[in-house]
């Protein structure tokens, strides 16, 4: 992602605390898109913009207490994540956020023999590069659908890791999950997308 050039956190934070309008604009230009993207992953498209806008006010309110244990970016994204999770809980949605303990297998157990080796191994795909895969409109929408049906924290993890390249350490801070749960969320999300591509390739 091309992030507009931002001053360092050391320069930026005092200016934000001093209510400097130019710094507000700089930080919004740099992070708002990413905040909407993360909010979409957790609460869905409909209220993601609202959540991201709400977060900015929360960021300014909490900034005097920011202890600098992470970067400003990580801290802001953590507030987005918490705001989005609160919205889910507040709206009493049936979506469970406690998905990290989900025990369903990564690959359908029927694809393995009793000795845990393949009985139904993966078949070849028609394409072997991302561009070639994405060239198919159908496959592109299949990936899109799979992403949209991921549970919120899985979708947030794959968005931050595989789309935005954040470190697992930062992602676990943002989503407030342990490192091991973060890795489980990431692997489950990736596997679901892989399975969606595989299903499409079979047709």
């Amino acid at each position: 992602m091309a992030t507009p050039l931002l001053p360092s956190d050391d320069e930026l934070i005092p200016k934000l605390l001093a209510n400097d309008e130019t710094s507000y604009a700089q930080v919004v230009a740099a992070y708002h898109g990413l905040m909407v993207q993360l909010a979409r992953a957790i609460v869905g498209e409909a209220i993601a913009d609202e959540v991201a806008q709400e977060t900015w006010v929360a960021v300014l309110r909490a900034l005097p207490k920011f202890e600098r244990r992470s970067s400003l970016k990580t801290w802001i994204l953590r507030i987005v994540s918490n705001t989005a999770k609160s919205r889910i809980r507040h709206e009493s949605r049936t979506i469970s956020l406690d998905e990290s303990l989900e025990e369903s297998p990564i690959v359908d157990p029927a694809r393995f023999k009793p000795n845990a080796h393949w009985v139904s191994p993966p078949a070849m795909w028609h394409a072997d590069t991302p561009d070639a895969l994405l060239a198919s409109t159908e496959l592109h929408s299949c990936i899109n659908n799979a992403l949209h049906t991921l549970p919120p924290l899985q979708c947030a993890t794959i968005t931050l890791r595989d789309m935005q390249g954040l470190s697992m350490e930062a992602i676990c801070k943002i989503l407030e999950v342990s490192e091991s749960n973060g890795r489980v969320l990431l692997h489950r999300a990736r596997s679901r997308i892989q399975m969606a591509i595989e299903e499409h390739e079979k047709q």
């Binding site: 898109g33 300014l60 994405l134 789309m163």
Partner: protein, 81 residues
């Protein structure tokens, strides 16, 4: 101990992210060297990850000047309260 094919699928992200514990690596490598199906599975996961990163979904939405002004205005208002 040599991992099974199921073990390979369960730890393939850790393998690709170089996060597999050192003591699991030799068995994992050996299994991949011997099993064409698991090599394909891991290669397809690698391709999946690269595809996710290149998909149009990976690009964060852009912010319009109007939207930016609205947000900055809200931020200013919030500090006056």
């Amino acid at each position: 101990m040599m991992p099974s094919c199921k073990d390979i699928t369960e730890h393939s992200s850790d393998y690709l992210d170089r996060n597999l514990p050192w003591w699991k690596r030799p068995g994992y490598w050996l299994h991949l060297a011997m099993c064409v199906h698991c090599r394909r599975y891991v290669e397809q996961l690698k391709l999946t990850i690269a595809t996710i990163g290149k998909s149009p979904n990976a690009v964060p939405p852009s912010i319009s000047t109007d939207e930016m002004q609205t947000i900055v205005e809200k931020m200013k208002q919030s500090t006056k309260k």
